[in-house]
């Protein structure tokens, strides 16, 4: 309970948006109220109508108004409901557009840190789900609860208009249904639903672990154990869920007992208030029959409020993205043309460690990067290769030492980052849009001919033109319809259009088979011959393309030089290269 209150207090994703599009929101609430109002009023008026008719009024005109009202409310209810559903969706979807933009911008600020985390895509897809949760929070919780409470107040006021004491009693009795029961329900179910969510997560992790290792379970002949290991947790979850359901059943039962009480009170109220007048007795049926549709509307309050814990995790996750402050680096005043014609980038005594960690990921690295040279960077995982690239791109700042472009500190050049650097990594993303648009992302001002020329340069013209939709073919699911080598070529075409002087190759061929790798590397280095290239690679295929080779281990260079020199003079390098070329000893 307290966590929920706290959640709403610190929230920046739901409450601020209630103020936006206020008119539309008021309309949603109004229409929702009218829907439940018409339902109640229909039974009220019908009850009055037939009671009055049973007194054989001398003139049909005496019941004319109730007749018209009955029909009006009868038609009004579905019409209002229809309108309410459309407007509430309209409102929520408008909100979703805003939320998506906001969330995107928040994530964008930390895109580089996200990149380090594993399974980036899945984490991000989870965020998209979170927005869905907020959508449901409005449609299933906030709207029905507000509308229900509104009806509650209006109904009690109406009874109070006839007799204030009974009005108060109704306020109290209906209060049990609309306020007390839902709150008790949230308090009791909240803890269970929290436990359930935890279990759910455990079950998920556990099963994923089992399924990923299924081959091992099968070969080890331990399938039975695999099943048993999964079911223990799952059974626990089933128990909690069925407790949850049983609670709901009995809660609804108690709710209905209260309804029976209300009916009794209402009959008593009717008798004492209207029983002594021949004309007024007709209100007894009216009031009594109105109870049932009213209670129907109240039932969605409990249901809506108990949904809150399921949305809680999403809200919390999204609010975490809010706490982030990004400092804006100082921008240097440099001439763009001069900068792009730089002569040298230098790492001088650069060290780096993550905050709260002692170990240096990079330890006093010095590296001069000369214009139009190719540098190959090798080393085991965790050696510091990626960190070097992130420092170069300005995603991380050195904790010691400096990185300079012709004397300008790299820190001050953030605005020129995309003019300076092009990146081709292991899995460049291909967007769910046409081939043409995908390649054009390299330079939005490129003409169709320029885009086609870039596609031709990477050797994909035949492939693309033979597709039924040609250049307009849509790349679905990250370009799954193309092979790994083809996807790298599309990304390369993008880089060609971007035309930055420095290209960072972050293991672009790691997932390709050796023959495709050979072909892609040849294309890359032929097309990028006049660029400065920093190439992180995991083995030595194509090492001849590099002017300088650097081996990095534990944050320091262990071996460096031209490949030819190293091969001639360094026994270790020779061994590695021989292994790599797979010289078959006969």
């Amino acid at each position: 309970m307290q966590t929920i209150v706290k959640m709403f207090n610190t929230d920046k994703w739901v409450l601020p948006y209630l103020r936006r599009y206020k008119k539309l929101l008021t309309l949603v609430i109004f229409l929702g109220f009218m829907t439940v109002f018409c339902g109640t009023a229909l039974m009220f008026v019908s009850g009055y109508l037939i009671s009055r008719s049973a007194q054989h009024p001398s003139n049909i005109l005496l019941v004319y108004v109730p007749i018209v009202l009955t029909r009006a409310f009868g038609i009004g209810r579905p019409v209002f409901r229809y309108a309410e559903r459309l407007t509430s969706h309209n409102w929520v979807l408008r909100l979703v557009s805003d939320l998506r933009k906001k969330l995107y911008l928040k994530v964008e600020q930390r895109a580089t840190t996200i990149r380090q985390e594993k399974q980036t895509g899945d984490i991000l897809a989870l965020l998209a789900d979170d927005i869905q949760h907020i959508e449901n929070l409005y449609l299933q919780t906030i709207f029905p609860v507000v509308i229900g409470w509104l009806l509650y107040v209006v109904f009690a006021l109406f009874v109070g208009y006839f007799n204030w004491a009974f009005g108060l009693l109704m306020l109290l009795l209906f209060g049990i249904i609309t306020i007390l029961l839902p709150l008790v329900s949230v308090a009791l179910n909240g803890a269970r639903s929290f436990k359930n969510r935890q279990l759910q997560h455990e079950v998920y992790v556990n099963l994923t672990d089992g399924v990923l290792g299924l081959t091992d379970w099968v070969i080890a002949g331990r399938q039975a154990e695999f099943v048993e290991k999964q079911t223990t947790l799952m059974d626990q979850q089933v128990k909690i869920q069925s407790k949850d359901m049983q609670f709901t059943w009995w809660r609804d039962f108690v709710l209905n007992l209260i309804v029976a009480g209300i009916t009794f009170v209402m009959l008593y109220f009717g008798e004492s208030q209207f029983g002594n007048s021949y004309l007024n007795v007709n209100y007894i049926a009216a009031f009594t029959l109105a109870i049932f549709p009213t209670v129907d509307a109240f039932q969605s309050i409990s249901a809506g409020l108990t949904e809150i814990p399921t949305h809680q995790a999403s809200l919390e996750r999204m609010n975490r993205y809010d706490d982030l402050e990004v400092e804006k680096p100082i921008a240097a005043n440099v001439n763009r043309e001069e900068l792009l014609a730089f002569k040298e980038i230098t790492f001088t005594d650069v060290s780096f460690h993550y905050p709260n960690q002692e170990r240096d990921v990079l330890n006093q690295i010095t590296l001069p990067i000369k214009r139009k040279q190719t540098y190959a960077l090798l080393g085991p995982s965790g050696a510091g290769k990626s960190t070097m690239l992130q420092l170069l791109l300005g995603d991380l700042q050195p904790t010691q030492g400096q990185i300079k472009v012709d004397g300008h500190d790299l820190n001050t050049l953030t605005d020129y980052r995309h003019d300076l650097f092009g990146v081709l990594d292991q899995q460049p993303y291909l967007f769910n849009t046409s081939i043409m648009n995908n390649v054009r992302l390299g330079n939005l001002n490129a003409t169709d001919d320029q885009v086609k020329a870039a596609i031709a340069a990477v050797g994909l013209t035949d492939l693309v033109e033979n597709l039924p939709a040609g250049y307009e073919t849509v790349m679905t699911e990250g370009g799954q319809r193309f092979s790994g080598g083809e996807r790298q070529r599309f990304a390369l075409a993008r880089i060609l259009l971007q035309d930055a002087p420095i290209i960072i190759l972050d293991e672009p061929t790691v997932s390709l088979d050796p023959i495709t790798e050979n072909e892609v590397l040849t294309t890359i280095f032929t097309l990028l011959a006049d660029k400065t290239i920093i190439w992180v690679t995991h083995h030595l295929t194509g090492i001849n393309f590099a002017d300088q080779v650097y081996f990095l281990d534990a944050g320091q260079f262990t071996m460096s030089g031209t490949p030819q020199d190293l091969y001639a003079h360094n026994q270790h390098f020779k061994q590695l290269l021989d292994l790599d070329t797979g010289v078959v000893n006969s």
């Binding site: 019908s46 009850g47 109508l49 037939i50 009671s51 008719s53 579905p78 409901r81 229809y82 559903r85 969706h89 979807l93 979703v96 557009s97 998506r100 933009k101 995107y104 911008l105 964008e108 996200i114 991000l124 998209a128 994923t208 672990d209 399924v211 290792g213 081959t215 379970w217 099968v218 070969i219 399938q223 039975a224 695999f226 099943v227 799952m234 089933v238 049983q246 059943w249 039962f253 209905n256 009916t263 009794f264 009959l267 029983g275 007894i284 995982s381 993303y429 769910n432 993008r494 023959i515 050979n518 072909e519 590397l521 040849t522 295929t541 090492i543 001849n544 797979g582 010289v583 006969s586």
Partner: protein
């Protein structure tokens, strides 16, 4: 609406029988509840004192409480059956996944399999819970009420009977219209709704290209397009709910007005009229409940279908009669005329004319990606079944078998893939996965043999350190060494299957790990699929696979001396060569 296979589930008939009895009782409770409420109101309307209704109100109260108690009972009856069924289904699904083995994961993907076993089962649970009760309510309650209403006033009862098919007809017609509209918009929907996920997934790339900020407005615009598209579909889609609402509410209004007229005429008394009015909403209630959850139910029906489809997949029977001795220096595996096919393709993925493996051969399987190397390994490992064509012959140690998915065979080998899976468990449990009873000393020796002596000693809790997802991070090279330690720990498994174990590692790690792998080869039959050609030096027999066929086989020397597929492959792989 209903999957027929639902009615073949154990215990369903008994549950449905009890449900039908409870619902019938409930229908009568509803009936009496309405009747006595009307009687109470009429008594008060006749200006009698309040005490006059105490008895009738008491009857109302009993009926009312009974009705809601019966709801709880109904839920318990169905709930218990659902719980039992779901538990069985879930463990059946897991058993089936275990029986189908890695093949099913390759086909469906890890994510889909997990989703099916968890969400699929959850949805099935909701579905079973909803559909049985609502369907039986709809089949029983309105008709008992209607029968009674005919005795009260046949004119209005006839109207209510007549309106029923009209409502359903309209709902069906509008349902189809909405479906047509939704189908037309479907592609658009998918594109627009995936756009956001697409943008988030591609964010690092956008940032590299310097477009990430500009893209925010694009997101808003596309999302607004989505809103417009959704609303235009929704306008039609919710028309069916509108119709239901419209007809049922209007029917009540019409009944009220009819009743009013006949009351004024004096042809009817208040009590039957009021009873009619009170019971009219109850008559429509089951239909409304059923329609409200219609979409959830459809979803659940599909989920149940998926689960049942998975369960009905044929699994290969483990032939327990096959007894195998431990693989020896003179053991033999022979394959003749064996093909492996894929479900959706006529062309076999792999055809083997003749392949004989014996003793402690070291067999290298080489070929380009997609040539069929992995298929061959999967066949030999018993993860894929051969098509069992005429003339097929698989002989294992002199015994003819149909396929290799045999416990007796799988107990003989170790499988070391490109990225071995590390379980979320302790290091010791991970190493001893194939020999859960191994002693600590044995585990330590295996770790040392795999070159992990320093690694485990530096771990915070040594052998008891949790590794794998969420535990201590393990690099690709270390994961590979843990797999090797598993193999060192089970020397009785004399067959080793390697699938490209070093291709993802950096060259120095690869060289170091190779030193740990080679000693493992002694006294083992080794099957080693790779395109890292330096391994050829450790092999004494090579299979060259191309387009799903073994195009060349022989010792490395033989193959190197003939100008065939092997020589061509070596040339292709080494196109770029070393240093010039």
């Amino acid at each position: 609406m209903i999957d027929r296979r639902l009615f073949t589930m154990p215990g369903i008939r008994k549950t449905l029988g009890m449900l039908a009895v409870l619902i019938t009782l409930q229908a009568f409770s509803v009936l009496f509840q309405g009747k006595y409420l009307s009687m109470s109101i009429v008594t008060l309307w006749q200006q009698k004192p309040f005490v006059a209704i105490l008895q009738t109100f008491g009857f109302f109260l009993v009926a009312f409480v009974c009705r809601h108690l019966l709801t709880v009972l109904k839920n318990y009856v169905v709930g218990q059956w659902v719980e039992k069924t779901i538990t069985t289904l879930r463990s059946d699904v897991l058993k089936q996944v275990g029986a189908l083995g890695p093949k099913i994961i390759q086909e469906k993907g890890t994510g889909n399999t997990v989703t099916l076993a968890l969400e699929g089962i959850d949805k099935t649970q909701t579905y079973l819970m909803l559909v049985l009760i609502k369907m039986f309510d709809l089949m029983i309650i309105p008709w008992i009420l209607l029968a009674y209403l005919f005795t009260v006033s046949w004119q209005e009862a006839t109207f209510m009977l007549a309106i029923y098919p009209v409502v359903i007809l309209f709902m069906i017609i509008l349902g189809y219209a909405a479906q047509a509209k939704a189908d037309k918009e479907y592609a658009n929907f998918v594109r627009l709704s995936n756009h956001f996920v697409d943008a988030l997934r591609g964010l690092p790339t956008l940032k590299q290209l310097g477009l990430s900020r500009k893209y925010a407005n694009n997101i808003h615009r596309v999302s607004e397009d989505y809103r417009v598209s959704v609303l235009s579909t929704l306008k039609i889609a919710i028309l069916s709910t509108f119709t239901l609402d419209f007809f049922t509410t209007l029917s009540i209004a019409i009944v009220a007005v009819f009743l009013g007229f006949s009351l004024i005429d004096g042809t009817k008394a208040l009590l039957p009229a009021l009873t009619m009015l009170v019971l009219a909403p109850e008559y429509f209630l089951p239909l409304r409940n059923f329609a409200n959850d219609y979409h959830d139910t459809l979803d659940g029906k599909n989920a149940l279908g998926d689960v049942l489809d998975l369960l009905s997949r044929p699994t290969l029977a483990d032939d327990k009669t096959i007894k195998l001795d431990q693989w020896q220096a003179d053991s033999q595996l022979l394959l003749e005329n064996v093909t492996v096919g894929y479900q959706d393709s006529d062309n076999p993925a792999l055809t083997i004319q003749h392949l004989a493996l014996q003793g402690y051969q070291k067999v290298g399987i080489i070929g380009r990606s997609g040539s069929g190397k992995s298929t061959l390994l999967n066949l030999l490992g018993g993860f894929l079944a051969p098509t069992n064509q005429v003339g097929q012959k698989i002989m294992l140690d002199g015994q003819v078998v149909d396929h290799l998915q045999l416990q007796a065979w799988q107990k003989q080998f170790q499988y070391i893939p490109q990225t071995p899976y590390i379980f979320h468990a302790t290091l010791a449990e991970n190493v001893a996965f194939y020999a859960p009873d191994a002693s600590e000393t044995a585990i330590i020796e295996a770790l040392a043999a795999a070159g992990l002596a320093d690694f485990w000693q530096e771990l915070p809790q040594g052998l008891a350190t949790l590794i794998g997802e969420g535990g201590q991070a393990v690099s690709g090279g270390q994961a590979q060494r843990i797999a090797l330690a598993r193999a060192f720990l089970t020397p009785e498994r004399r067959v080793l299957l390697f699938d490209e174990p070093t291709a993802h590692l950096d060259i120095e790690t690869e060289m170091n790990i190779k030193k740990a792998i080679v000693p493992l080869f002694d006294n083992h039959l080794v099957l080693f699929a790779t395109h890292r050609l330096h391994w050829v030096n450790q092999m004494d027999y090579i299979l060259v696979v191309e387009d799903g066929k073994i195009v060349e086989q022989g010792t490395p020397k033989q193959l190197a001396s003939q100008n065939g597929a092997f020589v061509q492959l070596v040339t292709d792989v080494n196109q770029l060569g070393g240093v010039k």
